[in-house]
């Protein structure tokens, strides 16, 4: 018989034998979402132009690029107005006519997307002046 290692941390007033996942602080029998990679990046976008930013996924030691073998969930938050400190969560349903100067481009599948070894996002600057955009990405993975 193969022993399967497990790790369970049960809430103080709950039973270790509970079948309700909410009773556990951690239960390795149920996959949990981890933040696999995250970074606050800056992208320079020239006036009336686009910039495509590509991030390659890493191995668990965060040393070498690695194909994860699955398509991870990637979330992006962007400071649409540089310096405002206000971050919007993608995908953006607001277009430039609403007053925002920089948006993630959505009109081409090759501009913004996730693959098993990388994700890429294209910023579009609808103004004549160069913008430096901050954005935070999070790559999620299941563990358990």
């Amino acid at each position: 018989m193969t022993l399967v290692p497990k790790l369970k941390i049960v809430k103080s007033d709950k039973s270790m034998d509970s079948t309700d996942p909410r009773d556990f602080v951690y239960d390795s029998d149920h996959p949990s979402i981890i933040i696999y990679m995250t970074e606050l990046r800056e992208v320079i976008v020239a006036g009336n132009s686009t910039t495509k930013d590509t991030v390659y996924f890493k191995d668990i030691n965060m040393v070498n690029n690695q194909d994860l073998g699955f398509y991870p969930i990637v979330k992006i938050s962007v400071e649409l107005e540089p310096g405002s400190g206000e971050y919007f969560i993608s995908p953006f349903t607001i277009d430039s006519t609403d007053g925002f100067s920089i948006n993630i481009k959505q009109d081409s599948l090759s501009d913004t997307g996730v693959q098993t070894d990388k994700f890429f996002v294209t910023f579009k600057n609808n103004t004549a002046t160069q913008k430096t955009v901050k954005y935070r990405y999070r790559v999620y993975a299941n563990i358990g």
Partner: protein, 287 residues
Amino acid sequence: MITPKIIILKPGASEGSTDIRDYRFHSNFSFLKGYYDDIHSMTINAGDTEKIITIPHGLTYVPEVDVFHDTGSGLVQLPYRLKTISGFDRHFFHSVDDTNVYIKWKSVIPYNQESYDADQIYHELDSGSVNLLVGNSLGNGYSSAVRFPNISLTRNQSIVSARIDWNNQISGPTNLDTKMKVFGLDYDNCPDVNTSLTRTSAYITQQQTKLSGTFGFNSNVKTQLEEIIARSGWTSGNRMGFTIENDGSPTDAYVGGTNSSDATLVVISSGSVTHNFRIIIYKDKIA
């Protein structure tokens, strides 16, 4: 310094694997850490085009946030765009800074607004024309009438505002104002329009200054419209008419007369809607 680690490999996986799928637990990676989970409401009133609710999060940095709209038939994650059958967009979206979470609603069309394009425009100088002409041309006073089809208002429905947008107009040659009165046409279901039909007792007076080039102006028709939909025979889906009449304009003070003129009835009905949002804030930082 020794950094303690907890690592649990899956059965059959190699120690030292660089593939996250080989692990049941790896303390190098953090879980999403919940911080706040609550419901907040947003009330959108008739005429609103924007609405924001602000939720202080009590953190000193920009945290990760998820917001879900309780549509009544389930939770829908923000941001998203509503495309209505009328073809205009409404947005729900959210943002976060180091003090607050903001949930925002934005609409191109004011909430509870409906627009109706005229199906008939009549003026007295040329009864075969389909353009507005009101005022004094070459010493003669002229009036016009307009009709709008398929009005969805029910009998005695409460409204916030009603106006007619007279678009693509031009002015007469004088610099003096055009003087006008605007009546409703007092019918349950307005027939083909002309300026001899029965008018409502409610009316407004207004003046339009001369403007160069092509321009638009509007007339407040709230009281006239309310009189029409108060009629015992008024039914949703009926046609509604109005007259815009010369009211002693000086010679060559007029508006209209261009072939591209048109008219739109814009009505905002009373009422509001409340939306509920579930907000989940994580301790993890965005910035």
